[in-house]
Symmetry: C2
Subunit: 146 residues, 2 copies
DNA sequence: AGAATCATGACCAAGTTGGTCAACATAGTG
DNA sequence: CACTATGTTGACCAACTTGGTCATGATTCT
C-alpha cells in the first residue's frame, strides 16, 4: 500500500469535516488548512477531487465552505485511500484488471502472497468508518487536555 | 506498502537462485533474466544491490554467476522487500525515525491505524521464508505440467 | 456593487522509476 | 600468455509522479 502526502491530507481534511458534521454548517478551506497543517492551495485541489467523487459538497459565497455529503458512518477509510492514492498494492501481478494480468500467474509463487497482503490491508481500512475515527480522535483530545 | 517493479524483480531473481540452491553451482545472470523475464542490464544492478546486502554472492569468470549466500530458510520475503523498496508504508506519521516524528502524533487519530496496517503486512512477509516460496512454486509447477 | 469564497487550469521544480551503455576487472581455458 | 566469458562500476537518460504555486474566473451573500 502507499499513502502519499496527498492521501494523508485527504484523510485528515475529511476527518476535520467529519468532526464538524453535526453542526450542518460548511467549514471553509482556510480553517481546515490551518487546523490540519495542509498547504491551502494544495488542499483546494484535493477537495475538488473529493467533491468529484461525491464525498463532500461545497457551498460558495461568503458563508461558504465544505461539508461531508454523507454521514461519517457511511464513509470508510479504504474508500478515501483508494480514491486518492489508487489501488492498494499496485503490482501488475495483483491487478484484477483483465488487460494487465501477468502471464506467469498460474505458476507464480508470489501471486497468492501479494493477494493475501492486499486482503489483510483491505480488511483493516474497509472496516473502519469516519465515525470510528472521530470517536478515537475525540478520546485522544480528551486525554490530552486533562 | 509499495512493491516496485524493481522489488518484484529482486524477489523473483532470489526465487530463481533459491530453487537452484541445492546444486551449489552459480547461476549466471542471463539465465535468470530469461527465465524470470527481467531486463538483463537492469538485473545486474539489482544483483549488485542484493550482494551488497549479503543476500547473494558472486563468482567471476567463465563458470561464474550468482548464488544465495544463505540457505533459503534463512531469508524472509520481508527482508528483501524492505531492502529494495524501503520501509513498509512510508508515511511520515508512521516512521519510527526519531527525527521525522510528526508533531501531531499524540492527538492524531490516524497514527494507530497506519501502525496496525503496517504490522499486519509485516506479519505476513516477515514470517515467509524462501523455503516456503520454493515449496509453493514447486507445487504449482507440478500441477501445471500434469 | 463588492467582498468573500469556491473553481479551474496552466505551470513548475525536484525526485523517482525503469531502464541503457561503455569501459573495466577477474577468472578460467587452450 | 592470450582470449573470452563473465561480473562490476558508474555515467547517463526519458518519462512519470509528487507536491506544490499562481492567475484568473465564477458564485453567492450582504
Amino acid at each position: 500500500m502507499k499513502v502519499s502526502a496527498k492521501g494523508d491530507y485527504a484523510c485528515r481534511a475529511l476527518l476535520d469535516l467529519a468532526l464538524n458534521y453535526d453542526s450542518q454548517t460548511p467549514v471553509h478551506i482556510t480553517e481546515i488548512a490551518e487546523r490540519q497543517g495542509i498547504p491551502r492551495k494544495y488542499l483546494v485541489q484535493i477537495l475538488i477531487l473529493l467533491k468529484g467523487a461525491g464525498l463532500v459538497k461545497s457551498k460558495r459565497g461568503v458563508e461558504g465552505g465544505y461539508m461531508l455529503s454523507r454521514p461519517p458512518v457511511e464513509i470508510t477509510l479504504g474508500e478515501v485511500v483508494r480514491l486518492v492514492d489508487g489501488p492498494i498494492l499496485p503490482l501488475k501481478c495483483t491487478m484484477d484488471d483483465e488487460s494487465a494480468t501477468c502471464d506467469r500467474k498460474p505458476i507464480c509463487g508470489f501471486h497468492p502472497i501479494w493477494e493475501s497482503v492486499r486482503d489483510s490491508i483491505s480488511d483493516i481500512i474497509d472496516n473502519l468508518t469516519y465515525e470510528d475515527i472521530c470517536k478515537r480522535t475525540r478520546e485522544k483530545e480528551q486525554m490530552y487536555y486533562i
